[in-house]
């Protein structure tokens, strides 16, 4: 019997793509879907997905939970649980387009929620922490519910299938986002599971990732000390938790986070000016277990921006293009050329050097 | 360019050439060589007879020695006169050669005391040069009975060299013991015994009274029949040329530590000189090859304008017969104390005076004896070393840590 996702560790190869408007212009999903087509061979049909930021402006005060349910009873159970902690603002089907390439679909719901203040006071935690805890609780429990997106004004859309099919399936042309990320998956160790597709999200962080990290268990065993539970045993999952831990819980900047997970080599640090040397030495000393080794190219989506990062040896391809207010990131230049045929400024960032793109203040 | 002239072509002359060239690569060097041979190792003539070496290997230096050192050799020439005022020498062919600095390395000649009837002996030889040796070699047959007059170093080495080539060898000497100039009675007796064991006969304490053809009669009446006579009574320094030029001469040409004679720009080195023996604090003729070289070298350096002194000369001899060796050095001044260790085949006698080792005689196994020699040469106070250990065996261990560190931990 082939083990299910979460029962074994699943490494996978992949394609990633992203686009963002620094002016905060909202664009529908056509372009990002098309960008995945030339990278078809980087996926094997066992998972594709997208994350979109700025898609729920009318609900932007609420956490948008995208949930897979295996069946009605799971759904009922999960909703009961949610109601213990949250006001349910809206509970709806995510509209899909039936296509032959996508089958065996679960129940897919979108639930906008608002944390109950009484609960927050009782637990002495902030609302983000509450969301994390509840989502972790649902996802850790194998009863058939899986929250695959839980940020505000953003959402992930993913399925078993090739990414371009997944995009059509979720009718992404009907969503408008200032930032899109996309992922095509080539797992080597799974029958394919909807929840296992990328992006992997936690609050407004979403990660698409191409690679197979060798530091996985060191990272996992460390991050699990802090309440995270790596149920999927995927790189993307653990990297998302690391991002959440470093950015939200430790309050590091994106650059500092990059200096932890793709830390500069000691020999590089030696050559830096004193203040930088001190900073990088400090970060490597304090967070050694969060260094991520092995090949990866990741795109981290967050509220108001994107960060792209390669492993420090640049063992995976990743290129960045820039045109006017747009920034494009993809595994292959071909993908960028689909999104922006006339683009001139394309480069390949060095390993370990983060590319951070932010939407102009107040633009969304 | 300075003009150097060296009279003589022995080891002192070779030392002089090397000494000059260690300072002055330019000046011309002219060597006046009475013998027709390039410099060779005179003491090796007995080994030649013994066939332990040959004429080729007897060369003291490589064939290219003179060329390498830019020296011109006038073979078969002798210097007859030095004109110290005009700084010229005159050769036997009448040529004159000018010099800026001159070194006399005239060596020594066999000394033959007057003996009655010596002119009746046909086969009589000296034993000093290759030519002597080749002549002697021609004269002997396996049936020859050889009589050697003189039981000193030359006579006995000659005896050893001839030993396997002739029927018998008899050595006679006026002295009552062999090697009388370097050994005392006890040591000489052990050496004599060894020589006798190897078939050498001795007639000691008497001299030849009369020769008649191949018959000799000793002062004590002993009669000896012989086929070949070797005269090895002794040698005399060749000093005449310096003496005639007005130089200061006693038994040898008088030189100082720099090997200067009493005449300006005239130096002398080797067997023709007399000089200071520090072990006995006396001046004497020490016709020793190592000293000849060191004197020659010293003279050469000084002639070329360098500075050198040979100020720690001592007499020393390493001599062995039929595998039995003897090392002696220094002297036994009056009032010295002697430490002795001896057994059947070996004698170790050390002479000490005024907290210094002044001399030694060692017979038998020769091992690291240079450590003793250095004690004499350096006049090391014995209170500064562990002499008790040294008496047992020469060793650096007895020389103190400071000396050991100096010698073994750094370049010397």
């Amino acid at each position: 019997m082939i083990p299910l996702e979460g029962q074994v560790r699943i490494p996978s190869g992949c394609a990633v793509s992203a686009m963002i408007s620094r002016d905060g212009r909202r664009m529908n999903g056509e372009s990002i879907i098309k960008s995945m087509v030339p990278m078809h061979d980087r996926s094997n049909g066992l998972g594709g997905g997208f994350a979109a930021y700025g898609i729920y402006p009318e609900y932007k005060e609420f956490y948008a939970l995208h949930i897979f349910f295996n069946n009605k009873s799971a759904q009922a159970e999960c909703m009961t649980l949610l109601k213990e902690y949250f006001e349910i603002v809206q509970d709806e089907h995510i509209k899909v387009r039936k296509i032959p390439q996508i089958t065996d679909e679960p129940i897919i719901r979108r639930v906008f929620v608002s944390p109950m203040q009484s609960v927050l006071r009782h637990l002495q935690i902030d609302e983000k922490e509450l969301v994390v805890r509840v989502v972790n609780q649902i996802n850790a429990d194998p009863t058939g519910s899986y929250v695959f997106s839980c940020g505000k004004n953003m959402g992930a859309f993913k399925a078993v299938g090739f990414p371009e099919d997944v995009g059509r399936y979720y009718r992404l042309e009907e969503y408008e986002a200032y930032s899109w990320t996309a992922h095509g998956r080539y797992p080597t160790n799974t029958p394919g599971w909807w929840g296992g597709a990328h992006p992997f999200c936690m609050l407004d962080y979403s990660i698409v990732h191409n690679g197979e990290i060798s530091s996985y268990d060191a990272n996992r065993r460390f991050i699990e000390m802090y309440g995270y539970k790596c149920t999927l045993q995927t790189d993307t999952e653990v990297i998302t938790y690391i991002a959440d831990y470093l950015l939200r819980r430790q309050g590091l900047t994106l650059d500092e986070m990059a200096a932890v997970i793709a830390a500069p080599f000691w020999s590089t640090i030696e050559g830096k000016p004193e203040a930088d040397k001190e900073k990088y030495t400090y970060l490597r000393t304090v967070f050694p277990s969060l260094l991520v080794t092995g090949p990866f190219s990741i795109i981290l989506g967050f509220d108001g921006g994107l960060m792209a990062l390669n492993d420090r040896l640049k063992l995976r391809s990743m290129v960045v293009g820039e045109q006017d207010d747009m920034v494009y990131i993809a595994s292959e230049e071909a993908a960028i050329r689909v999104m922006a045929p006339d683009i001139r400024n394309i480069w390949s960032p060095a390993g370990g050097e983060p590319v951070i793109v932010r939407v102009k203040e107040g633009a969304f | 360019m300075k003009k150097y002239v060296i009279i003589g072509n022995g080891v002192a002359a070779a030392g002089c050439i090397e000494g000059i060239r260690s300072v002055d690569p330019e000046g011309s060097i002219t060597v006046i060589s009475a013998e027709q041979h390039p410099v060779y190792c005179r003491p090796l003539i007995s080994y030649y007879l013994e066939q332990k070496t040959d004429l080729q290997r007897m060369h003291y230096r490589a064939e290219s020695f003179y060329a390498d050192h830019g020296a011109e050799v006038l073979y078969g020439r002798t210097a007859t006169e030095i004109n110290a005022d005009t700084k010229q020498i005159v050769l036997d062919n009448g040529d004159s050669i000018a010099y800026d600095a001159l070194c006399c390395c005239t060596g020594s000649s066999p000394f033959v005391p007057p003996m009655q009837g010596l002119d009746t002996v046909d086969n009589k030889f000296s034993f000093m040069t290759i030519d002597d040796t080749l002549a002697l070699e021609q004269a002997v047959t396996p049936e020859s009975r050889v009589l050697i007059i003189g039981a000193g170093l030359i006579g006995l080495k000659c005896a050893e060299g001839l030993h396997s080539r002739v029927k018998s060898i008899t050595v006679c000497d006026l002295a009552p013991r062999v090697l009388s100039s370097i050994l005392d009675d006890k040591c000489a007796a052990m050496m004599q015994k060894h020589l006798e064991k190897n078939g050498i006969d001795f007639i000691l304490g008497t001299s030849a009274k009369e020769f008649c053809g191949s018959h000799a009669v000793m002062q004590n009446g002993t009669e000896v029949d012989f086929d070949v006579l070797v005269l090895a009574v002794g040698v005399r320094a060749n000093t005449a040329i310096v003496k005639n030029a007005g130089g200061n001469v006693n038994r040898g040409i008088v030189v100082d530590d720099a090997c200067r004679t009493s005449l300006a720009d005239i130096y002398a080195a080797g067997d023709c000189t007399e000089y200071h023996d520090i072990s006995s604090d006396t001046v004497k003729v020490m016709a020793l090859m190592p000293n000849a070289y060191m004197q020659g070298h010293t003279a050469g350096v000084n002639m070329a304008g360098g500075e050198a002194a040979f100020d720690n000369a001592i007499p020393m001899n390493s001599i062995g017969f039929f595998g039995f060796h003897c090392h002696t050095a220094g002297s036994q001044p009056e009032g010295c104390e002697m430490y002795e260790e001896t057994d059947e085949n070996h004698i170790r006698r050390l002479f000490v005076k005024d907290d210094k080792l002044t001399g030694f005689m060692l017979l038998g196994h020769m091992h690291r004896t240079g450590i003793y020699t250095a004690l004499i040469r350096n006049q090391t106070p014995l209170s500064s070393v562990d002499f008790a250990r040294l008496k047992i065996e020469p060793q650096l261990a007895a020389m103190g840590n400071a000396y050991r560190d100096k010698v073994l931990k750094g370049a010397v």
Binding site: Y216, Q250, S267, Y282, P288, T293 | -
Partner: protein, 498 residues
């Protein structure tokens, strides 16, 4: 009772050139030259099989072999067991042994295999890419803090910086020689790692290596004073030793001579007896007091290590230590070496380091306090592979001592307690001590560590890991072979094939 000697000296007379090196080099006086017969003879009853003569014999004319003269075969009462009974019946004494437990108990290192990358993830070539082995040992903060200008406040609790995750473990001056200490100190300095004084104080000549020295405070407090504490880069409180958990130490008066007694601050010739417990530590809260006393004495500049033997409830003990203020925990497994220990203790007390390490690392993570302390693993770490396995199980660094002794020339004859170490290591006899030239000893230690570092890098590269911290606790890189479910569970690894 007389036994046939345990070892036989086999001399190939047709190769022996009578150089007498064997005779001159045997402190046990096994060999001698018989002037009459002009042959070398030997008294095998004195031979401990240290192989000194074998190694130095220039013509390979010698070998030492195990004697085959044995008591009647008995799987229950082994030859050794019976002879030990005889010896005790004769002397009424406790049996003494040296070095680590030699018995055939499981070596878990050998039942753990390491992963390598294939296809989905590239192996990394250490000859072409940077491969980092630097490790910092010490307490890590729970939260970062920032200065007023928003920059990171980079002040940290004191850390030890290691160029590679291996250090030389505690061996006292006294149990080993001056030259052995000099070799360790010089090698540690050259390598950018640390060596450990053990409980014997620090010879004044070695204060210059302080930056690479861990000074130990053990139950006897020998050689401990303010300058000593301040001389090192870290202070280790020794609570126990893997070879002899639960008992103290004993340096016989014969070894407490000259500088040894001076350095220990005890009268010359007196036995140096370290008690089993620290008499000021009867519980974990007492330990906390000592930890802070030492920190106070050194102005909180130095990390404090607490070294404990791996015993049954090691995980709970480690948890206590992690909350005691200690910066680093050193765990010493039951196979660790010793200069002298009661045989019964050495061979029967304690647990394997592999299991102890896995249990401790897991426990500290479960309690969320793994960042409070670093973990050093010691007690028979024999190779670079053992180091890699230890790191992957969760250690920050390893302590080695037996391997270090071997590098310095030890041939593991396990006779340290006799004080006649022919290799100049476990001895104070000046003629034997000089056999270990620290120029050679330190170079051999450096070579060994260089070799291990290369091997560690190769193994890491194979796993696609280019920095040692990504290996630490990365148990997914390990698989067990021939282990029970329980063992796998404790080790926290899967079986090969899973």
């Amino acid at each position: 009772m007389n036994f046939y000697p345990e070892f036989e000296v086999v001399r190939n007379d047709s190769r022996c050139i009578r150089c007498r090196v064997c005779e001159r080099q045997c402190a046990n006086e096994v060999h001698w030259f018989d002037e009459d017969g002009k042959v070398m003879l030997s008294d095998e009853s004195k031979c401990v099989n240290c192989q000194r003569c074998v190694t130095l014999c220039p013509t390979r004319a010698l070998k030492i072999v195990k004697s085959d003269c044995r008591l009647r075969e008995n799987a229950n009462y082994s030859d050794q067991t019976i002879k030990e009974i005889y010896r005790q019946a004769e002397t009424g004494g406790v049996l003494l042994s040296s070095m680590g437990n030699p018995n055939p108990l499981p070596v878990y290192w050998d039942k753990i295999l390491i992963n390598a990358s294939q296809v989905t993830n590239p192996p990394i070539d250490p000859l072409r890419e940077p491969m980092e082995t630097r490790v910092f040992l010490g307490k890590k903060p729970d939260h970062i803090t920032r200065n007023a200008d928003g920059s990171l406040d980079t002040k940290l609790a004191p850390q030890l910086s290691l160029s590679m995750p291996v250090m030389f473990s505690a061996m006292s001056y006294g149990s080993i020689s001056y030259n052995a200490h000099a070799s360790l100190a010089r090698a540690a300095t050259a390598l950018g790692i640390y060596y450990n004084t053990g409980e014997g104080g620090l010879h004044e000549d070695f204060y210059q290596y302080g930056k690479n020295t861990i000074v130990q405070v053990a139950s006897g407090r020998f050689g401990v004073h303010k300058d000593y504490l301040e001389a090192g880069a870290a202070i280790e409180i020794k609570m126990g030793q893997g070879a002899k958990p639960g008992i103290g130490g004993h340096l016989p008066g014969t070894k407490a001579v000259g500088d040894v007694s001076k350095t220990r601050m005890i009268p010359e010739g007196s036995d140096a007896i370290s008690p089993a417990p620290h008499h000021d530590i009867y519980s974990i809260e007492d330990l906390r007091q000592l930890v802070y006393s030492l920190k106070e004495a050194t102005e909180y500049r130095l990390p404090v290590i607490v070294k404990v033997a791996a015993v049954h409830n090691i995980a709970a003990i480690a948890s206590g230590i992690a909350r005691s203020g200690a910066d680093i925990i050193a765990i010493d497994g039951f196979r660790g070496g010793t200069g002298a220990a009661p045989t019964r203790i050495r061979d029967n007390v304690g647990i394997p380091i592999e299991l102890a390490l896995a249990a401790v690392d897991k426990r500290l993570r479960d309690e969320g306090i793994r960042n409070n302390v670093s973990i050093i693993c010691g007690g028979s770490v024999r190779s670079a592979a053992d180091v890699v396995k230890a790191i992957a199980l969760g250690a920050d660094a390893c302590y080695i001592a037996t391997a270090a002794c071997l590098a310095m020339g030890c041939h593991l004859c396990r006779s340290c307690h006799t004080g006649k170490c022919n290799w100049g290591i476990a001895t104070q006899r000046p003629d034997l001590v000089k056999r270990l030239n620290p120029d050679i000893g330190s170079q051999r230690l450096i070579n060994l560590m260089d070799a291990w570092r290369h091997e560690i890098k190769e193994l890491m590269g194979g796993m696609g890991i280019n920095s040692i911290e990504a290996l630490r606790g990365n148990r997914l890189m390990l698989r067990g072979v021939g282990l029970t479910e329980k063992e796998l569970e404790i080790l926290g690894i899967s079986h090969a094939g899973e």
